[in-house]
């Protein structure tokens, strides 16, 4: 994003809108200042139309800064998935895609959520920790385009200096490996400078029992009372 110095009148109205607190007020210069290292290019300041003199602009960006926009601005379209947003269809269409099968657990680690943001370096800290467990990342997730070596959880050098609002590490593990993977995630969560929201995805049994909930409870992990539930009303298109 850009705040045009000559146009800004220093009214400070934009300050509260930035989700990552990248806009501050310079008393010395009498205007708002944007910290480009912290700005994740989400576009909120621009879309809010809060600036009374249109001093906020939504510029074209060059790679790798474009990654900030793709992972932060839901109105932008990922080059990899050609879809808006940071994730995939995951559980949303599982009733017709069968992505999470019986005996498998989907794990979603949304780095930087809620509202803190993350460096790509912190994301790499987690993916490197996961590399010991041979996880296979969801290939439709835009995260995979950043890897230089997915097996080792390493990212391309040019992307490591970027920051984004959030990025989802998404993979499937067999039920019998989920305990060790979750323990590893818990351990690495103490080694990062941000937060992540974590979730488990899986099938619901015919009798209505929820295996992923039982796994979490067995491990003594708190789960929230709310969840995202695929109601099983989808079906294949008739030929």
């Amino acid at each position: 994003m850009v705040i045009i110095n000559d146009s800004c009148i220093g009214c400070r109205q934009c300050l509260a809108y930035c989700p990552v607190g990248a806009i501050s007020f310079s008393a010395e210069e009498g205007r708002s200042k944007l910290d480009l290292d912290e700005c994740v290019e989400c576009g909120t300041c621009y879309r809010s139309e809060v600036c009374p003199v249109d001093a906020i602009e939504y510029p074209d960006l060059d790679y790798p800064r474009t990654l900030r926009r793709h992972f932060s601005d839901p109105t932008s379209r990922h080059e990899l998935t050609r879809m808006p947003g940071r994730g995939t269809e995951e559980v949303k269409t599982n009733d017709v895609t069968n992505r999470f099968k019986v005996g498998e657990v989907g794990v979603c680690i949304e780095m930087g959520r809620p509202g803190i943001g993350t460096s790509i370096m912190d994301v790499e800290t987690v993916t490197k920790a996961l590399s010991k467990y041979g996880v296979t990342y969801e290939k439709k997730n835009p995260l995979v385009a950043l890897f230089s070596n997915a097996e080792k959880g390493e990212f391309k050098d040019e992307v490591k200096g970027e920051r984004v609002l959030s990025i989802i590490i998404e993979f499937v593990v067999p039920v019998d490996r989920v305990t060790e993977v979750l323990k590893a995630i818990k351990k690495v969560s103490c080694e990062i400078e941000t937060v992540f929201s974590i979730s488990l995805a899986g099938m619901i049994d015919d009798d209505g029992s929820i295996p992923v909930m039982e796994i979490a409870e067995k491990l003594g992990l708190e789960h929230k009372p709310n969840a995202k539930i695929n109601l099983g009303l989808g079906r294949f298109l008739e030929a």
């Binding site: 599982n94 009733d95 809620p114 509202g115 992923v212 789960h223 709310n226 298109l237």
Partner: protein
Amino acid sequence: MTHSLHREGSVKSLENDYVILITPAISVNDKGSGEKLKRYLKILVEEGVENIGDVEHGSIKSGLTIEKLDSYLGDGKRIRAAISDKESLKRILARIKEEDMGLSITVSGLVDNIFEMSRELGIKPHSINMALGVWGKVSLLPEERIREITTMCGHHMVSSSLVKEAIKKVRDGKMTPEEASEKIGKLCVCGIFNTKRCRMLLEQG
């Protein structure tokens, strides 16, 4: 994406906060989905939604009209909506089941309530994405009452600073809870921010 999953709050606070996602699966049933989506939209509007939109064009809280949204719906598009009471959700699901159009329907909200409603309607839930909370450097997080509002915008376009400012303005009588919730809700680009719940939370101070 997990943008409707990580809404925070107590069971009481979440009692009337649901998100419905209607998603054609690419290369599975997206062909011809545009006309179906228009029918789903009609059901949602007739039975009552708090917010609705699509990420490419915004929400009814940011100026999108239902007519415009309808005109944008085509094959492979998606509908997202926030519903602020259980009875509306139940009526919507009953009609969706009855019309049996075959697109995937996901509801985010209290698990017990969704399961109970499903039983009553003869719906058999297929799969689940279940939140385990926030891990990592949680000292960076704003307090929970702020997150109850910010997490209703799953893409996190709502800053904690703006919510704090709104709480103060409401407390000081400079803004009504309704004005504040509409102002905040405008920032959610996909239409899942529940402005009614936001207003209720702001009324609590």
